[in-house]
């Protein structure tokens, strides 16, 4: 929560940025034509392109989001890893080679290869922009979130810094420099994640009573009488008074007790675990609180936020309560033992509840929940995946819909598809996808180790799930922390540069040149592309600052749903169905895009996270949040029906 400037991280990051910018300017001399700017002259070696796929695809959401989700909830984050990778199977087996054969600069080229229709370019260009902007927002917000622990600078500085560097990279040498940035980032990310995983396995598991700051979390066994009398003792604590329930705490989901120390006058909050049978002793476990005062200041466990005397920070968490057979330490573990031992251990997870006090201060209370390893390693614990354990059919459909969107989304993301034009032929496109799948798959296997390693590292910050992986590295070694933080930051650079380039391509080729028929020579095209890159970069900076306070990681999921619904039906059908018509493609893109977007905006997820409505009072309009299972088939159906109708008219 309190972040100090890490010089080591600054050094790492500066070296990386300096190197990539230098490379960009040097390569920029070669990439003067539009062929060079958009497709790196098709001269990128297939192996480099394959690793660049990983650098392009493994966004901050993949790295920080998935690790954080696994660290706080267990297996569920790994479902994203599985779904994200499975999408590459569609890309390799169905899309890769025809994409390379039919297109030149943008994926709209491939859709339009048979028709030469401005309408197709317009629809595909707009869908590229919509998907890319959705994808950009969480990346830019992530940049701001990362800069705080890394450079101890405010959020907006991180956003502006990333936006500026990326725009420079793209403007200097377009696809050439973008590819090399992504190649470097992909290599570093996979390499350092592998080192971190190896260190986790070498360290093994230990049983602890608290995190790495040395604070041992207490638990008290008390009777109901203990809490009722005022003799100053509660369990093993002396000199404490039990306070009456404060205002705002009367209707909490969990029960809590407030204890005030007579000497320090400090109040601590304890989570009450009621006994199975009445009359048995009650267990109280130490909770942690973050109080947001009306003036915006924070109180941590009742004290002002800070590291000086009389101030406090949240204690780091993430530890095992027990190992199998009463062990307290395992020593180095094999990759299989890591899971089989965790399966039989008990982990202390922390859950939270928000309490609104009448004077409008808000309290987040975090309490311990001892969870068996078998529960940690099973799916269905995170709110997004609770559908798995729900009895409601619509919750199960929601889960299926999300997994379908992940499967179909990858091969429809414009910033991934343009990478097929940077290699020389279909065989290179195929080989680079295979390299991409191998490196991305290897990384996703590591995410489960990294996440669970963070869960048991004693270093987790309760208030920031995204920092799980960097903090795990910090608990091992400060140089490693510096490296991982700098890599996380460059993760944003790699993905954002791909997105900006895809957007600039859509604006220049699909919209201006084809849809609006503006005649441009090659130099003008490059100039327009550079101007649109700056423009998109500026929009990205503004959005990154505007969306600062929102948890925007769900937008990545939206981008997948919209991409799969709008783009996949046309991409697949143009390859396998000779009767596709121009009108069929245009309508399918528009219907897929509008229906998936509309569905999302009318869903419970949007009601809660965007409009801030309580879905219990204002029920959402659509029955479940994830649109894919309805809107992807709808896109296919639209394409087939419209193609059949327009064909008949043309025939007659």
């Amino acid at each position: 929560m309190i972040h100090e400037l890490s010089w080591k991280a600054v050094i790492f990051f500066s070296i990386f940025v300096g190197f990539t910018l230098g490379l960009s300017f040097w390569l920029g001399r070669k990439a003067k034509s539009s062929e060079g700017f958009f497709a790196a002259h098709g001269q990128i070696p297939w192996f480099v392109n394959g690793i660049a796929f990983a650098g392009d695809y493994l966004s901050a959401a993949s790295f920080l989001g998935i690790c954080g989700m696994i660290a706080f909830y267990g297996y569920d984050g790994f479902l994203y890893s599985i779904g994200y990778l499975a999408g590459w199977i569609v890309a390799l087996f169905v899309i890769a080679e025809p994409m390379k054969r039919m297109g030149r600069f943008t994926f709209a080229d491939a859709l339009d290869s048979k028709f030469n229709s401005p309408g197709i370019k317009l629809a595909a260009g707009i869908s590229t922009l919509a998907v890319s902007i959705f994808y950009l927002i969480p990346q830019m917000v992530g940049a701001g979130v990362l800069v705080q622990p890394l450079l101890a600078l405010p959020h907006w500085v991180g956003v502006v810094l990333v936006g500026t560097i990326v725009t420079l990279i793209v403007v200097t040498a377009g696809m050439v420099s973008t590819t090399w940035v992504q190649f470097l980032k992909g290599t570093l990310l996979v390499f350092f994640s592998a080192i971190l995983t190896w260190m986790i396995l070498q360290k093994g598991f230990t049983v602890e009573e608290g995190g790495i700051d040395g604070h041992k979390f207490q638990s008290l066994t008390v009777t109901a009488d203990d809490l009722a009398n005022d003799d100053g003792t509660v369990g093993t604590l002396t000199n404490v008074d039990v306070l009456p329930t404060p205002e705002g705490w009367e209707s909490t989901k969990q029960s809590y007790v407030h204890l005030k120390n007579r000497e320090t006058q400090l109040t601590s909050v304890w989570h009450v675990i009621k006994p199975a049978t009445d009359g048995d002793p009650i267990t109280l476990t130490e909770a942690q609180t973050v109080t947001t005062l009306t003036n915006g200041n924070l109180l941590i466990n009742g004290l002002p936020l800070g590291t000086k005397s009389g101030e406090a920070v949240l204690h780091p968490i993430g530890y095992l309560k027990s190992l199998p057979d009463g062990q307290t330490e395992t020593g180095p573990l094999s990759p299989v033992e890591f899971f089989s031992i965790l399966q039989k251990s008990e982990v202390v997870l922390w859950k939270s509840e928000k309490i609104k006090a009448p004077d409008t201060t808000e309290v987040s209370v975090y309490y311990q929940k001892v969870t068996s390893g078998s529960q940690v390693l099973r799916p269905g614990e995170h709110p997004t995946f609770k559908g798995i354990r729900s009895d409601k059919f619509s919750d199960k459909i929601n889960f299926l819909s999300l997994m379908l969107a992940l499967f179909c989304g990858t091969a429809s993301l414009p910033h991934i598809l343009i990478r097929y034009y940077t290699v020389k032929d279909e065989s290179s496109a195929r080989k680079s996808t295979i390299v991409g799948i191998t490196s991305i798959g290897f990384f996703y296997v590591l995410t489960l180790y990294l996440g669970l390693g963070a869960m048991t590292s004693g270093s987790l910050d309760l208030s920031d799930t995204n920092m799980a992986a960097p903090l795990l590295a910090k608990s091992m070694n400060t140089w490693l922390f510096a490296a991982i933080s700098a890599i996380a930051f460059t993760t944003v650079l790699g993905t954002v540069s791909g997105l900006i380039l895809a957007s600039a391509g859509a604006v220049t080729h699909d919209l201006m040149s084809s849809a609006f028929g503006i005649q441009m020579n090659d130099d003008e095209k490059v100039r327009v592309a550079k101007i649109s890159s700056v423009f998109v970069g500026a929009i990205a900076i503004v959005l990154g600052i505007l969306f600062k306070d929102m948890n925007v990681s769900f937008l990545v999921g939206w981008a997948f749903s919209v991409a799969a619904s709008a783009n996949l039906p046309s991409l697949v059908m143009i390859l396998f169905w000779p009767r596709v018509t121009r009108q069929g493609i245009i309508t399918a893109i528009v219907v897929g895009m509008v229906s998936s977007l509309g569905w999302i905006l009318l869903s419970a997820e949007a009601f809660e996270k965007i409009y801030g409505l309580d879905v219990l009072k204002t029920p959402a309009i659509v029955p479940f949040s994830q649109p894919g299972i309805v809107t992807i088939p709808l896109g296919f159906l639209t394409l087939v029906v419209v193609s059949l109708m327009t064909k008949r008219r043309e025939d007659s």
Binding site: I89, S427, G441
Partner: protein
């Protein structure tokens, strides 16, 4: 050659789709299956999940291998 590659691609794609579909449906409709620990103390969720990732890498390698064989032996064949 193109159509052969795309045929191989479609066959492998169908295999993966069935295996992935099996994982998703097992999760959705019999989540308790995922908790069983059939091999080496690992539960089905981890075994199946790792199999999906390693399987994707293996199938992509197989595809690359099969396509390479075809393209080297059928260079002279006219395109369909």
């Amino acid at each position: 050659m193109q159509s052969r590659n795309s045929k191989i691609g479609l066959v492998l794609f169908t295999i993966y789709l069935i295996v992935y579909g099996g994982f998703v449906f097992l999760n959705a409709f019999t989540p308790e299956t995922m908790e069983a620990t059939p091999i080496a103390g690992l539960n089905v969720a981890i075994l199946y999940g790792f199999a999906l990732i390693i399987g994707a890498i293996a199938l992509s390698g197989l595809y690359g291998f099969l396509c390479r064989e075809k393209s080297s032996s059928n260079n002279e064949e006219p395109r369909a």
